[in-house]
């Protein structure tokens, strides 16, 4: 299935619109909304690398997001690094951690890997919350280092998120047509058969895991500055792991557009549900769960799968 990107000009136009958007000085609420959607595009798309294309479903994606956030916070506290400078080291730290824990965990089979990543997120959360240099449960304040006017601040963060989203999506686009991407999908479809034709399972999986974590870590670092305060229980929410997974799967894992569409639709849905009357009864996660269930039962390829029939 030669998946061309659909209509490249459509994506390009979208990109242009997104770039211009913040400089039109729209209401802050909308800027924040798009920023948040962009953040989840990064999270879902990065999850997609290991969860969708490689077939190793992770329940602990937030681990790397959180590590990125902490690294950025520490860099700020120690040396005043602003978000765009801290992003790369944060991403690298997360990727490094992924390589270390990936080595033993990627040997596990599907469900076990999933639970292991879940346990991992819990372990790392407790560790980071309680280590002395990470605030011992009080968190780290990350304020300053950014422009002061509200609009400029929002614009700056928006641009950061947009750049990161473009980078992540672009990486997956490249990956899909590369030798690496085909190897990953072979592993996803049948690891033993993949090995039999020379695919080095462990190497590819590690790279995918590290790549996935790299982007998540970078997202975390920007988030740290945006939230201005980093403390483990707030950052390491299972919520983020869930959203990364659900957005990618409902949108269509193993596709480029899937996580993007999933993030946009689901996040809007989420906002809509929480701010409307229904928000009183916290129906948003229930809807997520139901949608996930429907996807697994009836539409394994998510929204993208429905549209490509």
């Amino acid at each position: 299935m030669r998946k061309r990107l659909g209509r490249p000009w459509l994506w390009l136009a979208l990109l242009v619109v997104l770039i211009v958007f913040p400089f039109l000085e729209p209401p802050i609420f909308y800027m924040r909304l798009v920023s948040t959607i962009l953040l989840f595009i990064v999270l879902a798309q990065s999850w997609n690398i290991i969860g969708g294309y490689t077939g190793y479903i992770s329940f602990g994606h937030v681990t790397f997001f959180g590590i990125g956030a902490y690294v950025a916070a520490l860099l700020f506290r120690a040396a005043g690094w602003p978000p765009y400078a801290a992003a790369v080291p944060a991403g690298l730290a997360a990727a490094l951690f992924a390589l270390i824990v990936g080595f033993p965990t990627l040997r596990l089979r599907g469900p076990y890997f999933a639970i292991a990543t879940l346990a991992l997120s819990l372990v790392v959360e407790v560790a980071l919350a309680n280590l002395p240099f990470t605030g011992s449960g009080e968190g780290i304040v990350v304020r300053g280092g950014m422009p002061f006017t509200r609009m400029a601040l929002e614009q700056a963060f928006y641009v950061c998120y947009l750049a990161l989203a473009a980078l992540t999506v672009g990486a997956v686009v490249w990956m899909e047509r590369s030798k690496f991407g085909y190897g990953l999908r072979a592993i996803r479809d049948d690891q033993d058969a993949a090995l039999s034709v020379g695919v080095s399972g462990i190497r590819l999986k590690l790279v995918a895991f590290a790549l996935s974590s790299f982007f998540a870590g970078m997202a975390g670092s920007i988030y740290a500055h945006r939230a201005a305060y980093v403390s483990a229980p707030d950052v390491f929410t299972l919520d983020i792991s869930i959203k990364s997974l659900v957005y990618a799967v409902v949108g269509g894992s193993s596709t480029v557009a899937g996580p993007v569409i999933g993030s946009v639709l689901m996040e809007l849905l989420d906002i809509g549900l929480t701010t409307s009357v229904l928000g009183q009864i916290r129906i948003d996660h229930i809807v997520f769960g139901v949608l996930l269930g429907i996807v697994v039962l009836a539409a394994p390829r998510g929204i993208m799968g429905l549209t490509s029939r």
Partner: protein, 272 residues
């Protein structure tokens, strides 16, 4: 104390080869229902526990029928996902119905302890322990003595062979799930008596049950019981030496270690 939920998890895992991540939230449901029965009707939690058995059995059947069976042919991860979806939904339903506050069940005897062989034992813990023992031994007897029980064990060992022997593996899986859910419900009551609970705690519970199951050997009921005891003791032990925050860390870390070091079900080498 962790033996109870772990036993149910172990059973489902062993028979259906499914990791029931919803196990924790099912138990939690049991806790909340018992709480309501206690608060509103004054029904003693222990009696609720008995009531739970058939109710949760049916719930388990329903879940299995509607969610799990349709995707039996899909890779294992799909069942995990669907149960995960169910978990998300149920957790949020619970939050909606009972709010996110911390709760505890405190029947009249909950604060009382008595002296026994020189140690101070709380009545609650003793009773829940007794519940666990009864449940586990009951299950054990069921698995060993009854036809259905043996059918379950056979299916767990080798599904294909069981089918050839005329066992309706579909039904066995269903029943196993029902039993597992029933045990989860009861476990929830027990856990609710000992610990305070809130809507998100089920993840902790299921992770710990997971640990116990793996330690005791997947599908091994007696092993799960022994491991559950061990974990409970270890936890209390650790609690006296290490700051409470790090106890959980050790538990999760242990789970990770066990998962990584112990090959279970994976490497039986049934190659092409």
């Amino acid at each position: 104390m962790y033996a109870l939920p772990a036993v149910g998890l172990s059973l489902i895992w062993g028979v259906m080869k499914i990791v029931n991540i919803a196990h924790g939230v099912l138990a939690l449901l049991g806790s909340y229902v018992a709480l309501t029965l206690f608060r509103s009707f004054g029904l003693d939690p222990l009696l609720s526990a008995v009531l739970m058995l058939p109710v949760f059995f049916v719930i388990g059947l329903l879940v299995q029928r509607t969610l799990v069976r349709p995707i039996v042919s899909q890779p294992e991860i799909s069942s995990l996902m669907i149960l995960f979806a169910f978990t998300i939904v149920l957790e949020n339903v619970i939050t909606r119905v009972w709010t996110g506050d911390f709760r505890a069940m405190t029947p009249s005897y909950s604060g009382v302890s008595f002296g026994f062989a020189g140690a101070n034992l709380s009545i609650v813990r003793t009773i829940t322990f007794a519940m666990a023992v009864v449940a586990v031994f009951g299950l054990d007897a069921f698995l060993m003595r009854t036809y259905t029980g043996k059918a379950i064990r056979a299916t767990a060992q080798n599904q294909a062979a069981a089918m050839l022997a005329g066992i309706d593996t579909d039904r066995t899986g269903l029943i196993a799930f029902g039993i597992g859910a029933a045990l989860a419900g009861v476990a929830g009551v027990a856990l609710g008596l000992i610990y305070s609970f809130h809507p998100s705690v089920h993840i902790l519970w299921v992770v710990k049950s997971f640990l116990v199951t793996v330690l005791g050997g997947v599908g091994n009921i007696r092993g799960a019981f022994a491991a559950g005891l061990l974990l409970g003791i270890a936890e209390s032990f650790l609690g006296t030496y290490v700051s409470f925050r790090w106890v959980d860390f050790c538990i999760y870390g242990l789970l990770l270690l066990v998962l990584l070091v112990r090959p279970h079900g994976l490497l039986r080498g049934s190659g092409a």
